[in-house]
Symmetry: C2
Subunit: 216 residues, 2 copies
Amino acid sequence: MIPTITAFECSPDEGQGLARDMRVRWALEEVGRPYDVRLVSMKALKEPEHRARNPFGSIPTYEEGELTLFESGAIILHIAERHSGLFPKDANARARAVTWMFAALNTVEPPIVEWEMAQYFEQDKSWRDDHKEMIETNVRNRLGDLSARLGVSDWIDGDFSAADIMMVLVLRRLEGSGIVEEYGNLARYVARGEARPAYKRAFKAQLEVFKAASAR
Amino acid sequence: MIPTITAFECSPDEGQGLARDMRVRWALEEVGRPYDVRLVSMKALKEPEHRARNPFGSIPTYEEGELTLFESGAIILHIAERHSGLFPKDANARARAVTWMFAALNTVEPPIVEWEMAQYFEQDKSWRDDHKEMIETNVRNRLGDLSARLGVSDWIDGDFSAADIMMVLVLRRLEGSGIVEEYGNLARYVARGEARPAYKRAFKAQLEVFKAASAR
């Protein structure tokens, strides 16, 4: 059965691949599973039809027969459990990969999203710079810890796994800030992720959605 | 084998049970598993011995033989997969419970942590009230969506699960703000969690750590 995911009809990042559907696309490409995409407008996100899929009115979602999931972390865990290529076979190594998925989403991503939101919603505030500095300190604390743990390894814990999909794409949200580049090993880690054929196929697929929307 | 978890030696919330070890304690109590606790001082959190357990220098961690995990989400998922009582038996229902765990941690918790951090670190800022209002709008957006989905149900998706442990404890972080009380069904949901015998045992255990530290 081919699953259906949702993505923004009109990419808010203009095809940079920073939206969370990129995580699910990349995971599906890594395991070699085809998928359908339902494009949703910003307005439709908040309507009952989409809220039945995701009560918070965001993307991505994942529909497969009777099952509907939301939250990129849960969707990728679901894919990784059912297809080989995203989780190590050893049970302890798998539990550690799951730990790193949660670390990406609950420890590393929150200050990065705060940084992103501040760019959008605090530009006209007199205290913009003061707050930005506080947020960037928090972001650097997380990235410093992550960089120290990654060291000279290629991936965050052993072989490439679902955790790396999460972490690479969480770090990509800082693009343009120059912050990731302060940590050479993290910048190379992101580049290593972007060089994977599955990443490239996923990136191209989301870019095509943006190009088609722009051409209309 | 009895696992060892870590908790703050000196509870920053003075025994209110808002630290993340409470999540793991509650999960272990629900499945009826004993556990040991290693208390860690604020200073020791940032030292190499603890960073080997958790590279971000926080609690909780979970050690079981050769396996060391961090991130409350990953630890609870690990417990729920290995012992009955925290996940539904049906595979689709289980995937939905996992979705709600991620929703608690990656969608509902981040603005709540932001609200909490602002209480600590922005009290002396001239823009404190302006920012607080923005954060509280984000918190209310999430809680409004959550309240609409919960409706008149006892738990977030079918029977009580690991997702409810996460969501109830994430909502508890707003204690004292009065915000949860604006959504009657969410306030009743939190109270329903707190009334569970396993919750009470977990709460008592963490409170005793605080009492012992205060008595020294």
